[in-house]
């Protein structure tokens, strides 16, 4: 299990390969990666991601522990960036490894749902015209009820 919270960019493909290669006896790998969208209508200049240093890794660690207790997982990786990101930058990724695809898929979705609403990150979108804190979506908060 590995959790990294960092400002530095990371290489999604390389991380995914390193994660996959390290597995033995795990037939299924699922990854999710989140990218800063290049929204034509808002002409986003950049996104600032603030986080609660000290709490963040602890909060993600608890979410990972919960996933490991619910599904049969060989390994989990979470990387989440903070600081200034521009369109098409990778924001974060998760990877899950399991013997069977169902566990790998469900655990990855669970991790994403919880990272969205329970890990202490806040995004601000900045364009020429505006600076807006991204508002948490009802559907994202409701997504936790599935689990």
């Amino acid at each position: 299990m590995q959790v990294r919270v960092q400002t530095e960019a990371f290489d999604f493909g390389q991380e995914a390969n390193t994660f996959a290669i390290a597995q033995t006896d795990m037939g299924a790998i699922v990854t999710f990666s989140g990218i800063v969208r290049n929204l034509a209508e808002t002409k986003l200049s950049y996104m600032d991601i603030e986080h609660y240093a000290g709490m963040t890794e602890k909060a993600i660690g608890k979410i990972v522990d919960e996933a490991v207790s619910r599904w049969s997982l060989g390994d989990v990786l979470v990387i989440h960036r903070f600081g200034r990101l521009v369109p098409e930058d990778l924001i974060m990724m998760v990877a899950t490894a399991s013997k069977h695809r169902k566990d790998a898929f469900e655990a990855a979705e669970f991790l994403m749902d919880y990272l969205k609403s329970r890990a202490p990150f806040w995004k601000k979108e900045v364009s020429d015209q505006s600076q807006d804190w991204v508002v948490s979506k009802v559907e994202d908060r409701n997504a936790l009820n599935r689990w």
Binding site: A119, P120, W122, V134, S136
Partner: protein, 82 residues
């Protein structure tokens, strides 16, 4: 003496990221009330508690949670990670 942290728009409205507060408040709600009575900027930031989340010693808690013995309380909007 307790450290109080603010994030995102709560930080912007309060005007600082962290301060140390002298308080006898027993719960988060007591602390919110006490700060709101001190200055308008707190009153404005705390005007709608349903749009705020709180952590006590880096764990998510409700507003009626105790802060007795806690080192750190943090106020912030709902998270938008991922």
């Amino acid at each position: 003496m307790i450290d109080v942290l603010y994030f995102a728009w709560v930080r912007e409205r309060i005007g600082e990221a962290k301060e140390t507060v002298e308080t006898e408040a027993e719960t988060v709600a007591d602390l919110v009330k006490e700060l709101s009575e001190r200055e308008t900027r707190y009153e404005l930031a705390f005007s709608d508690l349903s749009s705020l989340r709180v952590a006590v010693d880096q764990e998510l808690r409700d507003f009626d949670a105790s802060i007795k013995g806690a080192r750190e309380v943090a106020f912030f909007p709902p998270m938008t990670g991922g």
